[in-house]
Symmetry: C2
Subunit: 491 residues, 2 copies
């Protein structure tokens, strides 16, 4: 018989196999990794750093995610191991939180591997929890059981806190997880570099049918990559005649975790250290040429938001709108307006747009928005704006070419002149500062405000260089073709 609620009515139950079902919304493993970083970065945790590594424990490859955020109480850990519990949707935290659905840890971790341990300490208590498909299968569980064991962090002995289920939970973890002794548990707690923080350990990581891990850890020892598909794998004996490539030239964020993480947040709040090497955050908008901005005021919202357009100077074949939600990238390279035309004319090619759409709702896996009327209106409006921008840029270029013909200037020089300042993030305060484009020949990997050539921003106490916001927002360019159109209409 099913379990009854306080109301004397049966409860919906959850089969252990739902852990896998639920994780299938992340079709792509990097989407699962992003969930774990979101959690470390969100209010209530606010980690300054998160370290992502791949390690061997007892000959098994494991992924680890270690942060120096605020850690969790046993009760909070139980919510993290449950479904749909989030405090992020209410109150002040809702202003900034990326998490909406109380599902990121479950869907993310179970997408990457079959089993996960969470070690967390909050200064007073350190707690270990287990979410494991292997364990539930071994004991033939009918429901999702989550062993949780709290230890006292204050005493030197770090003794077990005895609760209703802590001893049974400890026995389950030692018997069914990758950790075989209490000492090993304490070693993991100690490997968290601060007094507070959380470490997630994932094992039985996903493998392809050929037995190799889904993620390629070997090609680049400082990255997680999707393995390359080799031509020979597609068709044995077929000779590559040069005109065909197994995979098209896709943006590197799709196969390099480092590239994806570098643009995952508009303004990163947490530094990611992937396999010992810091991920250099890139402000997408700062790497473009011909930058202009427009303003979008959805008719269904009070918000007015900035839309930045520019041309991708390096890879013209990667274009479209980068759509963020609460600082987090949701959709990348979404084609709109004239970019959608299959007409063969190369219109809008190379144009990147950037917008933060807090007025839309992300889907389950945070890789898409709900396909609502509001979303469709937004795409439609962005299409019109991109068309505007495209006309503006092409007209400007045409004018420039006339001048160039007079001056016999090289068009390459013209491109160079369009490059804006370089944006660097301070190691200490995580603020973004601009330096002139020619100041550094090689971009410094470690940089702080104290190195700023501009004395005004040479201290972490200086505020970040301001961007316009709210009511002051106006488009950065006069839409000249419209002015002309209006003129011709009035005559």
């Amino acid at each position: 018989m099913a379990r009854l609620s306080e109301q004397g009515i049966r409860l919906s139950s959850m089969s252990p196999s739902f852990l896998n079902s639920n994780s299938t919304s992340h079709t792509w493993p990097f989407s699962a990794v992003a969930e774990l970083i979101d959690n470390a970065s969100d209010p209530g945790v606010c980690a300054k750093q998160i370290w992502i590594d791949v390690v061997k424990i007892d000959d098994q490859l494991c992924l680890t995610f270690t942060d120096n955020g605020s850690g969790m109480t046993p009760n909070k850990l139980h919510k993290m191991l449950s479904f749909g519990f989030t405090e992020k949707g209410t109150g002040k935290a809702s202003q900034q939180a990326i998490g909406l659905y109380g599902n990121g840890f479950k869907s993310g971790s179970m997408r990457l591997g079959r089993d996960a341990l969470i070690f967390t300490k909050n200064g007073g208590c350190q707690t270990v929890g287990l979410l494991s498909q292997t364990y539930l299968q071994n004991i033939k569980a009918q429901a999702v059981i989550v062993p949780i064991v709290p230890f006292n962090q204050q005493t030197t002995l770090r003794s077990l806190v005895v609760t209703e289920d802590s001893e049974a939970s400890l026995a389950a973890i030692l018997q069914h997880s990758i950790i075989k002794s209490q000492e090993e548990i304490l070693t993991h707690f100690n490997s968290i570099p601060s007094k507070k923080g959380t470490k997630i350990l994932i094992w039985n990581i996903r493998r392809a049918k050929d037995g190799k891990t889904e993620i390629d850890f070997d090609t680049d020892s400082t990255d997680f990559r999707l393995p390359e598909i080799h031509f020979e794998e597609l068709k044995q004996g077929l000779r590559n005649n040069g005109s065909l490539r197994p995979e098209q030239n896709i943006p590197d964020m799709y196969y390099s975790l480092r590239a994806y993480l570098s643009i995952l947040y508009l303004k990163p709040r947490t530094q990611v250290i992937l396999r010992g090497k810091k991920v250099l955050a890139k402000l997408v908008s700062k790497s473009l040429t011909h930058i202009e901005h427009d303003v979008y005021k959805p008719q269904f919202s009070k918000e007015k938001v900035k839309v930045t357009f520019g041309v991708n100077p390096k890879k013209k074949e990667h274009y479209g709108i980068m759509m963020y939600h609460r600082n987090r990238l949701i959709k990348a390279y979404e084609k709109v307006g004239c970019q959608l035309k299959a007409s063969g004319q190369r219109v809008g090619i190379g144009v990147i747009g950037i917008i933060e759409c807090n007025f839309l709702k992300p889907a389950h896996n945070k890789q898409d928005f709900e396909y609502t009327k509001e979303y469709r209106l937004t795409l439609g409006a962005l299409g019109l704006k991109l068309n505007d921008y495209w006309r503006e840029v092409t007209e400007k270029r045409a004018r420039e070419r006339e001048f160039q013909a007079l001056d016999k200037e090289d068009s390459e020089d013209q491109e160079e002149a369009d490059v804006g300042p370089v944006w660097l993030q301070c190691e200490e305060c995580l603020k973004w500062r601009s330096v002139p484009p020619c100041h550094y020949k090689v971009m410094p990997e470690n940089w702080s405000c104290s190195q700023n050539p501009n004395p005004r921003y040479r201290s972490c106490s200086s505020p970040e260089e301001a961007e316009e916001s709210g009511e002051q927002l106006t488009p950065s360019y006069q839409k000249s073709h419209k002015k002309l159109q209006r003129l011709s209409e009035s005559h």
Copy 2:
């Protein structure tokens, strides 16, 4: 304190708000509708018909899904209202079942509306169950509670079966659902046309921020449509200069449920009657011209599958691969091979491919495949095959044009001559039969084997016209360019 399992270890819990979280994987409402049809069509239910309607109950718009399948016991209904329980993945049923994850009803129904009632009868027992976000909110539930009430179907009085929770459940349904009396419950049972079957009633259906229902029920009284985005909604006061359109010319399956359902299954097992009008199933492959087929043998699978290629004669701008999994459409118009080139050359435009990829795994929402190495290999191989096909067709056309120049034939006639037989589905046995293209001037809406002009297949007892399968599969065309290539290499 959390609930403990038999093992004395706490259980993972589920917040009522997870019902919404879980449903957000269906970004698009038709994806949610498809889940409910899958359930009716899957082994264990095997409905011959499903009726989809929109009705008013107490001034509230409700969606109904009524099938004449085998119905459910109270215990099976409880599993349907729980998470991750499915018998479809094991044994014989796994050969044909679309459902994999035990999540379709929850994610689908809660995507369309906030509340759902399920009426089901299996010949011996008729049972009503409630899955309702409004109810759980009203009683401030901490977990997902699912009232379930069985009635005896055999006795004339149809009396309540007294179980541990049936009376409390009945009280909850009458107090918190759209149904206010036991008589109304019985009326719903009676509205199921057979002795066995299931009716799903969904209310508080999703609305956009403008208050209108997400689905447009008015524009076509025999369809569910996504509302059109009007140009004026995008930019007030902007004059449509004719060169811009708010939404591009997208395939009709994206905004018309009738169009989507007509291609949702490769070979429909269940007839769908949408708002009183039968959905005419279209075999995608039968509506193409220049049809050829190729064979794909993935290196990671023993299966050998047919890939059908053809040219979409009506809408050349809608092209790509239609990827099915166990008879069910997962991805539509997926571009591969030369279709991916943004080069401005119109290569591969208009080419449709059809494949059933049972060796891949669909994602949570059944609108995508897991982005595994196997999936990427499949896309790569399909790209090569499509390139082959494209060369074959263009070479053939070039040869034909030479002949035409001699014969002064009209190229339009040539296109006509390529049209294959018309495929019709028998009303009675649901088998597909071919008739010559000119046999009917207007396609008959109701058709059965007895009307077949071909006497060989004029009875429902005749088997379906055979398709090649398994080991016999060979490509339908000689890859002439390869032959040439090989020849030139050997010289």
